[in-house]
């Protein structure tokens, strides 16, 4: 997507305080562009989940947004532990988040299911010990 409008965000893995910043910024940009509100809403929810996942499991990572007149692609890339069993991770309520994270109200096992629900297409590329890249696709036309 070389001709796409591209924005890059560093997702800071050090704290929860900054988690969600990339999705809020993206929301602003999409609104400025005139993307339909319903699509913005879905992107904002899915991307927020992705950011939180990166903070919980992978010490942060990179979020990239590519926009063309036809498509919006969000990639969330980390060099975390990878997902051992994607099928299991996609089940609602399944979570490997540690207890201290759950105590904060996160780790309910809805991250990946919500990302799938709030995107048109989702691709997961993950390798244990190497990292995970998730693509969230949205079709504008």
């Amino acid at each position: 997507m070389s001709e796409a409008l591209h924005y890059h965000f560093d997702v800071d893995g050090a704290s929860f305080a900054n988690a969600g910043k990339a999705s809020v910024e993206t929301k602003k940009l999409l609104r400025q562009l005139g993307v339909p509100p319903e699509i913005i809403r879905r992107i904002s929810v899915a991307m927020y989940e992705g950011e939180i996942n990166m903070v919980i499991h992978a010490h942060g990572g990179d979020a990239d947004v590519y926009i063309t007149p036809e498509t919006i692609l969000i990639t969330l890339k980390d060099v975390g532990p990878g997902i051992r069993n994607v099928e299991e991770a996609m089940k609602e309520g399944f979570s490997t988040a540690p207890e201290n994270i759950r105590a904060l109200g996160f780790g309910a096992g809805m991250g990946l299911p919500n990302m799938k629900r709030y995107s048109d297409d989702m691709h997961i590329d993950t390798r244990v010990g190497v990292g995970t890249t998730i693509e969230l696709w949205y079709h504008l036309t």
Partner: protein, 421 residues
Amino acid sequence: MAVYTHSVSIDPEKCTGCTTCLRRCPVEAIRIRNEKAVINANKCIDCGECIRVCAHNAKHASYDKLSDLDFSKYLIALPAPSLFGQFNHLDEADFVIRGLLDMGFKDVYEVAKAAEYVTDLTRIYLAGENVARPVISSACPVVVRLIKLRFPTLCEQLVPIMPPYELAGKLAREKALAEHPELKPEDVKTVFISPCPAKVSWAKSVMEGQAVYVDYITSMNDVYMELLGRMKHAVPGPESAPEAGSVGLRWATTSGEAASLMNEGYLSADGIDNVIKVLDDLESGTFGNLGFVELNACSPGCVGGVLAPSNGYIARLRLQSLQKTVVVKPNKIEDIEDAERLKGDIPAEYTEAAAFTYMPDGAPNMLAMLMAMKKAEALAEKLPNKDCGACGSPTCKAFALDVVNGEAELSDCAVRSQMEG
């Protein structure tokens, strides 16, 4: 598109073109052009931050001057609850009401009283079926406009009930016409004593197109000066007994409205930056179970409005003592409305006339905007990214887009010119 009438204007004589307001505007609605601040009316949310921060007193709120009011008409004062927090050593609200009558108002209708009705109506609304939650208060006009401009998916969560000052205007007018059949409707005028300029915009706005029951909006500052003198000699009687209870008075400060609902988990926040953060998080759906959200652009609530003379925190303290002197029992909507009519939907005469619909300030043409933002993104990489504001745009990113849109010249960036030179 009709013009949105704003309450903030700039005095070009006093504006020095400094960057204070430019950098503090929460919606980046200000630019400095030709050494003067300019407000983009399509983006401005009337929060009044620029008035607050201007060191040169160059920003003015517009409102109706007391001297412009025709006291030969049947003028009814609508004091905001925050007015009662402006006076030192005020033990009884009666003195304020008597003072207003002595100023020449024919009647006084406390907005705090109407607020109690709004509380009641909101409770009925919350109990309804298929209500989108969390329900968001629509009492602060800044928050309402902010949501309409920037938070499309939250529009349907705004309480569709008219704000207390508007309901006060309606009820005051009806009372006057019922008590004085000799009055012609056009002779009855309602005068809201406002702590904030956003309410001026709300009432004067032609774009919103709603019927308004508030005829004049005066500044609490102006009324304060006049009222103080009258209150010194005021002799309260039964006619000046307050009719609002502590619930209504509490609306002047943050959490007052939310706490008065008593039956829902609520969140309250104030200060425009905090409000924006809460709305962003609400839109991402990260709050879990929440019944009601009260948001006020000013801190600590309406008492912190830019047209209120006192420090808002001191005013809040005074209101806390005053609340002990008024009745606890709030006015109930059943007192003025048939209980049968209150079953089901909120009767139309209490609902906000304007629809809470998304009205984006952005470009209608996505393709053109996409091209522009792409160019701006490339241009931004060449900029110093110091966000100094000297060019007249709030950030380097904003400047890049302004250049692409032909609203600024690349040579306006002094830092870049210096680095190159």
